[in-house]
Structures are given as structure tokens and as C-alpha cells.
């Protein structure tokens, strides 16, 4: 080869490589590991899982110990049990389960539903978003709501007042949870939807009619929550729902999130009650056992285990030697955890709806029940619904109600306050396994009557009435007010 030839050869090689098109050559930065777009279906299933975890995982441990269902024996539950909670708690729940889990999934779900002309998904998304935001505000009070979930557009969202979250505030551009739910219901009334949910709908398998019932029942729950601070609005909403007559009336219509028995798919309650090394951090409370035994309640054996036919429980706040071995401890039974964890997390129930209607008719004079129905009817309906839900046979239910000794237990009597106490106490039993709802009711009504836990510490020895803002959020967002401890009531919690 002559020099010239080589020179031109090299130049050609060089030119060729350069000319391969730098643009395409460098255009390889879309991640092959993660999708850039997903369907509404996978967002819905993820959102539902997030809401279920918010409701049933760590925050449920907190609320279930605080509400004397369970006694904390070690670790965090032992702290909750003596009313200790700080901003170091629930950071993961706030972050990964709530805002960056369920809520952001619903936000994207609604957007994707609009893009794909799929109002059914949008409707479900809005109802679940309203439900999940109600969890957040009921636990923490004022929380980011109208400006939340905006990503780069608002990395330090405004904190909205709980009153504005529940009632809306047009001057601040805040839509009420009621209106958000109603908007969702309106979407579900669309005549068609390009994409429709199916198995991805972990709650109803795509049955839109049930979602409508869930939406209306959510309105009842939201109204009842604010009934003390704003009875007028609560009455209006409850009457509206009763008139619409499209709420949950059957246990099969309960809003629940399904889990499976395979590792990685199990109900969280089952995992921390039966599986992980944290299972020995809680035991059923003696107070709860006494309550059900006192009522001679047939649900007890279905709700609480009795290894060796013996209930082994501990009083709340107890700090002595623990019973050994821990396999003898009374724990939640499979009606709550599911067999092998294949049990759902309950969000809205038929029993809850019935108790709400019973309570509304008892304490809100303007509420009009359906013709021919009394508060007592709904009280009994609620008890029966929950008994059926946990697996008490129809015959056993009949027997319980027929037993003269139980007559006073299943019949409302006395002053309005007495009747409310009866309703909420039964509602408390029906919420076994869902401490947050029971905590809401207790904060609002003071029922069931709960005695202070032994060795209580907290801020001032009183039972927490809110959770403290997480340290993470306080350090990242100056809109959060510091120094609000767990003894400060939320807006709807008035005497």
C-alpha cells in the first residue's frame, strides 16, 4: 500500500463512523427498565393496594393499639400502646403508601382515563382519591390536598385546612371531598367507557354498579365524620344519599381490597399478625376480650384466636413479663387476616353504612330514614351484617337475637347519647381489624368508652387524637406547622 492509499483509507473509516448519524447514535436514553407510559388498569390496582396498606398496615397497628383492640408488647406498637408517637413515625406511610403510593397513582389514573376517554376509570379514581384523602386528613388534620400531587409544578405544596378539604373553599380553589366524590359518581354514570376495569379492579372486578354504591356510602361516611362540627351539611348529604337509594346494602357490595395467600401478595394484617418477626409485637387486648365476652358475642371465636382453647391476652399498657411461648397468644383470627393472608382489607362496609344511618337518625334531627325504617332497624342490621361478614351462621345470629339475655344489647334504648353509645360500641366491634375508622368514631363521639391505658405517657397522658406530621415532610416543606402534637384535636373533633 502506498501512503496516499492508507491515508484515504483511514479517512474513509473515520468519516464512515462519524457519519453513522450522531443523532440516532446518542438517542438511547429512554429507559428499557421501566415503562414511560402505563395503562389505567395497572394504576388502579396499584392505587387500591396503596389505600389498603395505608388503612391496614402501620397506621392500623397504631390505631388498633390506641383503640384498645390490641396491646403492644414490643417495638413500635408498645410505644403506641402508651400513646407515644412522634414525627419519626409513619414517614413511610405518608410517603410510600399514601401520597407517593395510592394518591399519585389515582392522580395519574384520572389523567390517563381522560386521555383514553375512559370515564369509568376516572370515576373510580376520584372516589378512591376522596376516600384516601379522607384517611390523610382524618389522621393528620390539615394536609396538602388541592395543591398536592403536582410533581415539579409544586414541590412544596400548600397545606389545606381540614375544613376546606371537607367543605371546599372556592376562593382558594379547593374542591370539597363531597364534590370530588360526586364528580366520580357522575363519571360512573357515563353511558360508555373506552377502557373498562376488570381483574385490575381488586375491589369489585369491574362491576361499576358496586362502585356507585361505594361512592354513595363514602358520602355517608364523610358526612358522619363532620356531623358534630357541621350537622347541617351532614344532614343534607345524608338525606341526599338516602333519597338516591344507591348505597351498599349487602356485604357482597363492601368496598374491600383483595389480597392473596402467596408470599408478596398477602394481606398486611396477616403478615404482621402471623408471619414476620414483628408478629410478637402485639397481642389481643384483655379489654377487647372482656367487651366481647361481656356481650356474650358469637363473633369472638371468629375474630380472636384461642390457642389451646384458651384466650391469652394482655391489658393495654401492661409492662410486665410476657406470656411464653408467643404461640399461645391470642391474635386476630382468619376472619380478619384471611386464611394464609388471602383476606381482603375492608374500606367501606355494609355494617358501617347501617350504623351510620342508625346514628344519623339518632343524633341528626333532620335526617329522614327510608319509609318505615327506624334507627333500631339499622342498628340491628349493622350487627347482623357484621356477624354474617365474619362468618356467624344465620342460625346463630337468629339465636343470639332471640336470646332474651341479649335483648338489651341488640335494642337501642335510653337517651340519644345512650343510643349513640350503643351504636358506636357495636360499630367498634364491627371495625375490628380496622382501627382507623374506630379511632375516627371515638374521637368524634367519645364512644366506645375507653379507659386510659396503663403506664400511659404520650404528651400529657391522654389518648392521641391525631398523628404528628412526619419529620421528613417538616424538613422538606416549610408550609407544615411544627409543634402540633398528638393531643391537638382535628377540626371535626369538637366537644
Amino acid at each position: 500500500m502506498k501512503m496516499k492509499k492508507i491515508y484515504s483509507c483511514l479517512t474513509i473509516v473515520a468519516m464512515l463512523v462519524v457519519a453513522t448519524g450522531c443523532k440516532d447514535f446518542l438517542d438511547i436514553n429512554d429507559s428499557p427498565n421501566n415503562p414511560l407510559e402505563v395503562s389505567p388498569a395497572v394504576l388502579l390496582s396499584n392505587g387500591l393496594g396503596g389505600t389498603a396498606f395505608t388503612d391496614a398496615n402501620e397506621l392500623n397497628k397504631f390505631a388498633s393499639t390506641v383503640m384498645s383492640y390490641l396491646t403492644g408488647t414490643a417495638g413500635q406498637p408498645a410505644q403506641y400502646d402508651i400513646y407515644n408517637t412522634t414525627g419519626a413515625d409513619f414517614g413511610n406511610q405518608w410517603n410510600f403508601e399514601l401520597y407517593d403510593g395510592a394518591l399519585i397513582s389515582y392522580r395519574h389514573l384520572i389523567d390517563r382515563a381522560v386521555e383514553t376517554n375512559s370515564p369509568y376509570y376516572a370515576g373510580i379514581g376520584k372516589i378512591m382519591m376522596a376516600y384516601t384523602f379522607s384517611l390523610a386528613t382524618d389522621i393528620w388534620g390539615d394536609v396538602p390536598y388541592s395543591h398536592a400531587l403536582r410533581g415539579l409544578d409544586d414541590t412544596q405544596p400548600r397545606v389545606d385546612k381540614q375544613e376546606d378539604i371537607y367543605k371546599g373553599n372556592s376562593s382558594l380553589g379547593i374542591q370539597s371531598l363531597f364534590d370530588l366524590t360526586r364528580e366520580g359518581l357522575a363519571d360512573l354514570n357515563a353511558t360508555s367507557s373506552a377502557l373498562v376495569p376488570g381483574a385490575d379492579d381488586l375491589s369489585y372486578g369491574g362491576t361499576i354498579a358496586n362502585w356507585k354504591r361505594a361512592g354513595n356510602t363514602l358520602l355517608l361516611k364523610l358526612a358522619m365524620t363532620i356531623s358534630k362540627v357541621d350537622p347541617t351539611l351532614a344532614t343534607t348529604v345524608i338525606n341526599e344519599v338516602i333519597a338516591g337509594n344507591n348505597y351498599i346494602v349487602d356485604n357482597a357490595q363492601n368496598l374491600r381490597v383483595a389480597f392473596g395467600s402467596a408470599v408478596g401478595s398477602q394481606n398486611p394484617i396477616h403478615q404482621y399478625v402471623n408471619v414476620t418477626s414483628f408478629r410478637d409485637e402485639m397481642i389481643v387486648s384483655t379489654r377487647y376480650l372482656n367487651l366481647l365476652q361481656g356481650l356474650n358475642d358469637p363473633r369472638l371465636t371468629l375474630l380472636v384466636t384461642s390457642p389451646g382453647s384458651k384466650y391469652t391476652t394482655l391489658d393495654n399498657g401492661y409492662r410486665g413479663t410476657l406470656p411464653t411461648p408467643s404461640t399461645t397468644w391470642s391474635r386476630w383470627n382468619t376472619s380478619i387476616t384471611g386464611v394464609g393472608g388471602a383476606g381482603p382489607v375492608r374500606l367501606l362496609t355494609n355494617a358501617q353504612r347501617a350504623f351510620i344511618m342508625a346514628e344519623a337518625a339518632t343524633i341528626l334531627p333532620g335526617v329522614t330514614l327510608p319509609a318505615g325504617k327506624t334507627a333500631n332497624d339499622y342498628y340491628q342490621e349493622g350487627i347482623k351484617a357484621h356477624m354474617a361478614e365474619v362468618g356467624v351462621t344465620a342460625a346463630a345470629v337468629t339465636t343470639y337475637f332471640a336470646d332474651a339475655a341479649n335483648a338489651s344489647r341488640v335494642t337501642l334504648s335510653g337517651t340519644a347519647a345512650n343510643r349513640q353509645q350503643q351504636i358506636i360500641t357495636q360499630k367498634y366491634i364491627s371495625w375490628t381489624g380496622n382501627g382507623l375508622e374506630a379511632w375516627n368514631d371515638w374521637r368524634r363521639t367519645g364512644y366506645p368508652t375507653l379507659l386510659p391505658h396503663q403506664n400511659a405517657v404520650g404528651v400529657d397522658g391522654t389518648r392521641p387524637v391525631r398523628a404528628v406530621y412526619t419529620n421528613n415532610e417538616i424538613s422538606r416543606n416549610p408550609n407544615f406547622q411544627t409543634g402540633i402534637f398528638q393531643n391537638v384535636r382535628v377540626w371535626w373533633d369538637v366537644d
Binding site: I6, D30, P35, G49, Q271, F278, T470, N477
Partner: protein, 1034 residues
């Protein structure tokens, strides 16, 4: 290396010398310094073009025309001598080194060979012989203490454990701070590939461990950005340019064999107490990890174990040390080189087998290398080099709690760890704990194995277009696959049902470089030499990492995934692909070899940055001036003076896939309950995806490091005493970082450009030859490094942020404004405003600690090393002492040993009450000294557990790092044998240390190579190596 290179040049210059004359003169040229033969010395008949060069042993043979001829013996670096031939037929000569020329040819960026004096930046060269046969199989470790400005810390004494290296401090918040490694032009991956949780798993290798140190000819460390700018973004943390041996510059065929055997023992464990046994509060409890039980005073002579066996209650002084074996390292390398002129070849095979100190741990490496260079008749130069490396590693997992090492630091002093069985006939563990595993059980049944198959090579084409212009095209590739398997038997604490993780890391990198170089003398004015370079680089990097986990094993001690009943596919950045196009240029000006100026610039185009703005330019300039030559200042006192200065800016691109918002497979929960999508529910699988919690950065820009440096080289007393001093100041800005956002925005972090960090440092290298008497010589080389790193700003309103990587909650390696990089943020003991520890007036214990406080900094105040080399005739003895001053280590191991009452100090006066240091708050703003007596156990445990300031220790350490003694057999003895050289020697590493503030050896980092440093989270201890070496050439 110097001689070899000079030989190469000499060979080139002497080509074309004619031969055909009358008389033959022969002889041998040796160095006056050490009497060794000098290869490549130019022997020229004065006034003619006739000449030759000496061979590898310094012998020459030349024909001269007449007796009046004069021979000129010249050799770069030595004083030229002229000898009149007269009637002599043999001329033996000793050449004296030329004090005027400190010149040494070094390899700079892009493989350019340059005279050290022309460089306006810092480059330290380490000869291959300084790292070979030093009882150390990992190249990086053998550089420890030898190079200024470089901080090298090994993970531990576990075989093959990775080694971290930072040059001139840490310059990136989140990017890799490991220097670019270049081996024969090949961009060589030194990744550590932490694919699993570094808090709990065994320590993987840094991939530079795939290199056989015996093959290395030289290592050139390019320290600042100015030195490495031609390598582009990748070298913003500096570059290490390794040249392997080749047949270059050698005439004829040479075979060399090097062999070494080393023993390895555990080293650096603290002293233990032997007065008290298992239990707590002076009571024996057979399930306790503590040694706070009864004294061995005869009151309790036998106890019942958890298994019901009655055993003596006595001290087992060596129960920790006895876990460890004596390891061994056996290294062998054979290489064959052959060459003539421009044509040469090398073939080499190396093998290293290491048995670690931990039972069942090992490390092994086999390298096969072929390389050749040739110049065709048409002037085209071609060359290539291909190496296959097979590296294997086996280790037990380490880390807090359920691991062999985690348990080892919690063995009661009365527990007969090695004397009693650790498993039953079915392989089920026997231990004092029902939930943890016996350390010996763990080392047997919990194993992490890795097998790396790697191929790397280069291919070069070169051509001299004109006398002053040449072109080279170079293609390099580096491909490896690391097949890893982590096994945990049924019954393992961390995976009770058994676990097999199959984990594969495939990585490939290709580079193409087209480089035009020009060099012309006497341009414009007499004495001005101008050089230029234009280059173009194309690069692709690709990583693929699939990982399968199989759990619920059904067959004990059989590890095939088919026996498992549950499988999960872990996905964590499975694929990473990035490409880069670089355009670079350099213009250098040399005036009369005493004034030098050089400009460089590089434009990079990266695939990881936004398409419209992915191109970025960065320049550098460096100057060097030698006043001693320019102004004729040289004297017997001041022999050499060089001043240098440079300014450089280097850009660094992002890692792939930082720009988009993506969706990730859903997962919820914490350690008490967790689900992972797809969920198996209602008889089917339901997928779930969530928006990723990190917001992408659509407008990301590169991060930059700007560096200024000044330095001086001084040679005194005819260069018997030399100083190389540099001061540098680098500013890192525009850092690519994931900044925390309010979680209620729906996200956790956003990737953006933020922050500023500075490194200011001095490097000093002093070399001296204090004694040189006859054939005895004493050389000292000392180096000193002091770097002050400060994180100046992060993001508005952000004072601290965690460094990416694994960490325990509340023990967070962080960037913190106003602090050095990598400080540990955790819970600090509460103090009053005069820095006295606060003690609870009731309990006598410290009041609750203050979270989110800086409690430790891993960065040393300074590093220094002194190497002494004594040579007498053919004997050589070198000893390297170095020190790390300051900086802290966060040690679970020592906190555990103290809390459990194992450490010697906890046994002293144990029956006496103690008082924690500190004061008690009187409640009125005044404080009284703590006077509350507590038990020894309460005291030592009260000093702090794992997540406390009590786990922080001063990491200052002095060390006799390396001692090497070698003896070259005299040539006279070998003349009748086929051997040219035989060298025998002994060497040892880590022979002694002293750590004033730490109970053991603090030079550990269980987190491995990477940005998180300064931790011993229950990792393996260090080792001491010593052995024998043999090197034979024929």
C-alpha cells in the same frame, strides 16, 4: 521503565547507522549508581553516523575505522562520555547519572509519551517493580502509601474485597469518584458492581483486581483534571494509566518467570477479656450474647448449654481468633517476549490462588495475554493486545446481626466456639442462640460466589503521514460477565427457608479513537517546538444485570433453583446503556526545553443528557518553566527548578435514564408487612405500576469540576534531594443530584443540577539519597497529602442529603453544608453549650441523643508515607511506613465488642462502680458534675450502642505497610547457566500497626469501593501477609 523507554528511543535514533569497518571494539556499560548493565546506550563514532546501542545487559560491539576514533557514549539521563579508542579492544565504562537531566519519559493522557519536565500538571509514575512481588494480589492495595494525593482504602482482609481509591478528594456528590483506569489504551472497568445490599453481603471485588500485577510495566497517575482532560468526562476524578509489559525495546527472546508464596493471618482484632463469661448482670444466661456473666473465679465451674449439655464454665481466650484460618496466596506468572526493532510480541500466563482467612473463602485469578506490534514495510504500524482473565471469589456474607462476622463480635468469652460442634448430623446449626447462626455454620452454609470471565484488548493502526504528522486509530474493548450466586441454606437466620440468588452482571465497553498528532521543531523561531493533536472518540458502555431469587428450598444443602418453591425477579436498573462522542485537541509549545505551554480542549456529546443540550466543551491550559535552564541558575546546591501551573475544567455527564419520568412496578409496606406486584389474587395475577418516586430532569446539564493548581519541582545537591510540591484548588459545581421534595407533591426526589463542593489540597513528594557510599545506597521517598474538602452548598433550603447507597436508618452517610463529603449523620450525645455531655440525674446515663447531627467524618486530616530503600551490591531492602491521621470510623464491630463485654477494657475492675463522664442539668441553667455510680455493664453499654456516637472512633493509624528484601544473584554466577537474572526475596505487608484511638485496625471499609466510606459494619478484619518471592529471567 525509564531505561526501557530510553532504550526504545535510542534504538530508533540509531537506526540507519552503517556498519562495515576495520576494528572491533566491545565492552559493557554499567550504571555507576548500582553497577547494573545499561541497555540501549548509544555508542557513536564521533563525527560519523556510525553507531550501535548496548543490549539488554549493557554489552556492545562496534567496529571503528581507526585508532584515532573517539567513541561517544550517550544515554538519556546519564552524562555523555567520550573515550578515545587508542589501541584498546575492550572498553568497559561506568556512566554517571546526569544531574542536569531529571527528565523522565512518562505516559500521559491518551497514551502520549512526554518528558516529565514539560508537564504543567501533576503526574506520579510508579514503576511496575514497585508493585510486584509485594505480598499483595490487588494492584490498588500495593499503591497504598506510595502516591501523593491519592487515598486508597481496602474493604477488609476478605479475599478479593474491593479497594476504594480517590485522587485529590471527592469531586462529585453522586457520580463515581473512582478515577478512570486505562490499561494499554483500554478504558478498563474498575466497577465494584454492588448489586445487592452492601450492608449485609460479602464484599465483591473492584474489577481492577482482574489485572495481574506481574504484567504491569508502569503506572502513571494523572492527578488533576488538567492531566486527564483529554480522556474527557470519564476522567474528572483523575486517571490511572497502566502500561503492561510488551516486547517493545527488547532485542531477542526473553522468558521470565515470577513466583511468590504468601501466608496470610488475621490481624487487627482488639484484645479480649478473659475474666467473665456468658450472661448479664453477673448471672449466667445460656442464650445471652453478652459476656457480662459471672467471673471465672471458681464459683461457677460448669453450666448447661441451650442444648442441655453440661460444659465447663471457663474462658476460651482464642475463641474469636480461632475462627480464622491461615490463608495463602500463591502467584505465578510466565511471560515470553520476543522482538527485533519495531516488531515484537508478548505472551504471558499468570495464575493466582488465594485461600482466605475466613473458612471457605477464596480468590483466584488466571490471566492469559497475547500482544504484538509490527511495522510493515510500507510504514504502517499495527499492534494489538488481547487478555483473557478468569477471576473467582468466594466469601461469607458479613454485616450486622445474622452473619458469620456479625455473630463473631458477639461470642461470649465462655463459649467454646471451635471446640464444640456447630451442626448436627443433618447440618442443622447448634448455637447458643435460637434465632442466629453459629459463625462456623454461616461460613459453611452461607456462601457468596462470583466467577468473572473477562476479555479486554486493543487494536492499533498507525502511520506517519509526514515526518511531523502521524495518525493513529485505536479500537479497544473490555467485556466481562460476572456470574454470582448467593446461597443461604435452610435454617439461615436471614433466610430461614433457604435462598439462592442468581445474579449476573454483564458489562461491555467499546472505544474508538482516531488521533492525529503533529510535532515540528523550530517553528517561527529557532528553538520553538510546536506539537498538536486532534482526536475523536466514540464510546459505548452497556450493563445488563438480571437477578433471580429462589426461596423456600425443599432439599437441604442442594442448591438448584428447581428445588425452590418461590421465585422472585428483582429488578433494579437492569439495563444501562450510554454512548459518548468526544472531539479533543491539544496544542503544545516548547521553547528551548525550558518553557512550555499547552492548551487542550474537549467537546463531549453524551447520550445521557437532553438531546438538544447534550454537547459541552471544556478547556485546560498548563505551563511549565525551568528557570535553572532558562537563566543558567544551576549550581551544586540548586540543581533543578521547575515551576508549573494549570487551570482546567472538566465536565461530567449523567448516568443513563435520569431524564424521563417512568413508572415502576408497585410495592408497598415496610419490614413488618410487604406486597410486591403483580399480586396473586382471586386466582390470577394483577399487575400494578406506580409513578417512580424520582422526578426526571428534562433539562439536565453536565456537572463540572474546575481546578487550579500550582507547583514546584526542586532538585538540590546535584539532585540528591528532590522536592515536588503541588497546591490545588478544585471546585465542583452543578452537581447532578436527587434533591428531596415534599412527599405530598406525589414524589420523593427530583433529579437536578445543584450544589457546590471544594477541595483544597497540598501534595508533597520528597526524595533523597542521604547515603551513598561505594556500593551502599540509601534512598528515601516520602509523600504527604492533605486535602480539605467542604460541601459549600446543596440546594436552597437543603442543609443535608443522604449519599446514594445502602445505610442503616439514623446512620446516614451524607453531604452536609459546611462539612466534608461523606459525614455520618446520626444521633449525637446531648451536650450543653460548653460541650459537656449531659447525664440524666436519676439514671446516671446519658440523656436521649440528638438526632440528625453530624457525628463522624471519614476524611483523614492528612496521609503520609515514607519509603526507605537500602541497596548494597545486589541486595535491596525496602520498608514503607505510612500513616493516616484523623478522620473517623463508624464501627459496629467495636461497639458490639464493648457492649457485649468482650473487649479487654470491659473486664478491668468490673466489680467496681463507674461514672459516665458528663454533667447533670440542675434545671436552673447550671450544671453539676455527674456523680451517679452505675455498674460496669451499665457504663460500657451506656457509652452507646450501634446507632450512637459511641460507635464512632478516631481512625488515626500508623503502619509498617510493606517490607521487601530481595537479592539478585550475581551475573558472574549465572554466566554458565541459561539464566540472565535470578532474583529471590521475601516480603511482608501489614507487619505492624498502631492505632491510638481504635481498639483494632481501623483501615477498613465494609461498604467497599464507592462514595460511602468510613464504616466497619461488622465486616471481616484485616490481614497480614508475608512470603517468599522468586523471579527468573532467561
Amino acid at each position: 521503565m525509564k531505561k526501557t523507554l530510553l532504550f526504545f528511543f535510542a534504538l530508533m535514533f540509531s537506526l540507519g547507522a552503517a556498519l562495515a569497518q576495520d576494528r572491533v571494539i566491545s565492552g559493557k556499560i554499567v550504571s555507576r549508581e548500582d553497577g547494573s548493565g545499561l541497555p540501549g546506550v548509544n555508542v557513536l563514532v564521533k563525527g560519523s553516523t556510525q553507531g550501535t546501542v548496548t543490549d539488554a545487559d549493557g554489552n556492545f560491539r562496534i567496529t571503528v575505522p581507526t585508532n584515532e576514533s573517539t567513541l561517544v557514549f550517550s544515554f538519556i539521563g546519564y552524562q555523555t562520555q567520550e573515550i578515545a579508542v587508542g589501541d584498546r579492544s575492550v572498553i568497559d565504562l561506568q556512566l554517571e547519572s546526569d544531574v542536569h537531566q531529571l527528565a523522565e519519559v512518562v505516559v500521559t493522557a491518551q497514551g502520549l509519551e512526554r518528558d516529565q519536565r514539560s508537564l504543567g500538571y501533576s503526574l506520579q509514575s510508579v514503576n511496575g517493580s514497585a508493585i510486584q512481588q509485594r505480598s499483595e494480589p490487588n494492584v490498588l492495595n500495593s499503591l497504598q502509601g506510595k502516591v501523593a494525593g491519592v487515598n486508597i482504602v481496602g474493604s477488609s482482609g476478605a479475599p478479593g474485597a474491593s479497594t476504594n481509591i480517590n485522587i485529590r478528594g471527592v469531586t462529585s456528590f453522586n457520580g463515581s469518584n473512582q478515577p478512570l483506569i486505562v490499561v494499554d489504551g483500554i478504558i478498563f472497568s474498575n466497577n465494584t458492581n454492588l448489586t445487592t445490599n452492601s450492608l449485609f453481603d460479602s464484599q465483591t471485588s473492584n474489577r481492577l483486581a482482574d489485572i495481574n500485577p506481574d504484567n504491569i510495566e508502569s503506572i502513571n497517575i494523572l492527578k488533576g483534571p488538567a492531566a486527564s482532560v483529554l480522556y474527557g468526562s470519564r476522567a474528572s476524578a483523575g486517571a490511572i494509566v497502566i502500561t503492561t509489559k510488551s516486547g517493545k525495546g527488547k532485542e531477542g527472546t526473553q522468558i521470565s518467570l515470577s513466583s511468590s508464596y504468601n501466608a496470610q493471618t488475621v490481624y487487627g482484632l482488639p484484645k479480649f477479656q478473659n475474666e467473665f463469661g456468658q450472661g448479664t448482670n453477673n448471672d449466667f444466661v445460656n442464650t445471652q450474647v453478652n459476656s457480662w456473666g459471672p467471673a471465672f473465679d471458681g464459683s461457677l465451674t460448669q453450666v448447661t448449654t441451650l442444648q442441655g449439655d453440661v460444659v465447663p464454665y471457663e474462658a476460651y481466650p482464642n475463641n474469636v481468633v480461632d475462627l480464622f484460618n491461615t490463608g495463602s496466596i500463591f502467584q505465578n506468572t510466565v511471560s515470553v517476549t520476543t522482538g527485533k526493532g519495531d516488531n515484537n510480541m508478548i505472551f504471558s500466563v499468570g495464575n493466582m490462588q488465594q485461600k482466605g482467612i475466613i473458612p471457605n473463602s477464596s480468590f483466584g485469578r488466571t490471566n492469559i495475554q497475547v500482544g504484538a506490534n509490527s511495522k510493515l514495510n510500507n510504514g504502517l504500524k499495527i499492534g494489538g493486545n488481547l487478555t483473557y482473565a478468569l477471576t473467582t471469589q468466594a466469601n461469607a456474607p458479613a454485616g450486622n446481626g445474622g452473619s458469620a462476622m456479625g455473630q463473631l463480635y458477639r461470642i461470649p468469652r465462655s463459649y467454646d466456639m471451635v471446640g464444640r460442634p456447630f451442626e448436627d448430623a443433618l447440618g442443622r446449626g447448634i448455637y447458643f442462640s435460637t434465632t442466629q447462626n453459629h459463625p462456623l455454620w454461616s461460613t459453611k452454609y452461607e456462601v457468596q460466589e462470583s466467577q468473572v470471565n473477562r476479555v479486554f484488548g486493543n487494536f492499533n493502526l498507525g502511520y506517519d503521514l509526514t515526518k511531523w504528522l502521524s495518525v493513529t486509530y485505536r479500537v479497544t474493548g473490555d467485556i466481562y460477565v460476572d456470574n454470582r450466586q448467593n446461597r443461604q441454606a435452610i435454617g439461615s437466620n436471614r433466610s430461614a427457608t433457604g435462598n439462592i440468588i442468581i445474579d449476573q452482571v454483564f458489562r461491555s465497553e467499546y472505544n474508538g479513537d482516531l488521533i492525529f498528532t503533529a510535532n515540528k521543531d523550530n517553528v517561527f523561531v529557532e528553538g520553538l517546538t510546536v506539537g498538536g493533536l486532534l482526536g475523536w472518540n466514540m464510546n459505548q458502555r452497556y450493563t445488563y444485570n438480571p437477578q433471580f431469587t429462589s426461596t423456600n428450598l425443599t432439599v437441604p444443602n442442594f442448591y438448584d433453583p428447581s428445588t425452590a418453591t418461590t421465585y422472585t425477579y428483582t429488578s433494579a436498573q437492569l439495563i444501562a446503556k450510554q454512548r459518548l462522542l468526544g472531539y479533543y485537541g491539544q496544542a503544545s509549545f516548547n521553547y528551548n526545553n525550558y518553557a512550555f505551554v499547552e492548551f487542550t480542549g474537549r467537546v463531549d456529546q453524551s447520550s445521557t443528557l437532553p438531546a438538544g443540550s447534550n454537547t459541552y466543551f471544556y478547556p485546560s491550559v498548563n505551563v511549565s518553566f525551568v528557570p535553572t535552564d532558562a537563566f543558567g541558575l544551576e549550581s551544586d546546591i540548586l540543581s533543578y527548578l521547575k515551576l508549573k501551573a494549570n487551570y482546567a475544567k472538566v465536565g461530567r455527564d449523567a448516568t443513563p435514564y435520569q431524564l424521563n419520568d417512568v413508572y415502576v412496578q408497585g410495592t408497598f409496606g415496610n419490614n413488618s408487612a410487604q406486597v410486591n406486584y403483580p399480586l396473586a389474587v382471586n386466582g390470577g395475577n394483577v399487575a400494578g405500576f406506580a409513578p417512580n418516586t424520582r422526578l426526571g430532569a428534562p433539562a439536565l446539564t453536565p456537572e463540572f469540576v474546575t481546578s487550579k493548581e500550582v507547583g514546584v519541582n526542586i532538585g538540590l545537591f546535584r539532585n540528591r534531594f528532590g522536592i515536588d510540591f503541588n497546591y490545588f484548588n478544585t471546585v465542583s459545581s452543578n452537581q447532578i443530584f436527587n434533591v428531596a421534595v415534599s412527599n405530598s407533591s406525589g414524589y420523593n426526589t427530583r433529579t437536578t443540577n445543584i450544589g457546590k463542593m471544594t477541595n483544597k489540597g497540598v501534595e508533597l513528594v520528597v526524595s533523597a539519597t542521604p547515603v551513598k557510599v561505594g556500593e551502599f545506597k540509601w534512598d528515601i521517598t516520602a509523600n504527604f497529602t492533605r486535602i480539605r474538602n467542604v460541601v459549600n452548598e446543596i440546594a436552597p433550603g437543603v442543609t443535608n442529603a443522604p449519599i446514594t447507597g445502602n445505610a442503616f436508618t439514623g446512620i446516614t452517610p451524607s453531604i452536609y453544608v459546611g462539612q466534608p463529603y461523606g459525614v455520618v449523620v446520626g444521633a449525637a450525645n446531648a451536650r450543653n453549650n460548653v460541650d459537656e455531655l449531659l447525664v440524666n440525674g436519676t439514671t446516671g446515663l446519658f440523656v436521649p441523643a440528638v438526632p440528625n447531627t453530624v457525628i463522624a467524618s471519614p476524611q483523614p486530616h492528612f496521609l503520609a508515607g515514607i519509603n526507605n530503600v537500602f541497596t548494597y551490591k545486589n541486595l535491596s531492602l525496602s520498608a514503607l511506613v505510612d500513616t493516616r491521621q484523623g478522620g473517623q470510623i463508624y464501627s459496629f464491630s467495636m461497639a458490639d465488642l464493648r457492649n457485649t463485654g468482650m473487649m479487654k477494657i470491659t473486664g478491668v475492675d468490673r466489680d467496681q462502680p463507674r461514672i459516665l463522664p458528663g454533667v447533670i442539668d440542675n434545671g436552673d441553667g447550671t450544671f453539676r458534675p455527674n456523680n451517679i455510680q452505675i455498674s460496669s455493664q451499665a457504663y460500657w453499654q451506656g457509652l452507646g450502642g450501634l446507632a450512637s456516637e459511641g460507635a464512632v472512633f478516631d481512625a488515626t493509624v500508623y503502619r509498617l505497610r510493606e517490607v521487601v528484601f530481595s537479592y539478585n544473584l550475581p551475573r558472574t554466577l549465572l554466566s554458565k547457566t541459561p539464566f540472565t537474572d535470578i532474583m529471590i526475596g521475601v516480603s511482608g505487608r501489614n507487619l505492624w500497626f498502631f492505632a491510638p484511638g481504635y481498639p483494632g485496625d481501623p483501615e477498613l471499609n465494609t461498604q467497599g469501593a464507592g462514595n460511602i466510606q468510613g464504616f466497619d459494619l461488622s465486616g471481616p478484619p484485616n490481614v497480614r501477609n508475608y512470603g517468599v518471592n522468586l523471579k527468573v529471567t532467561f
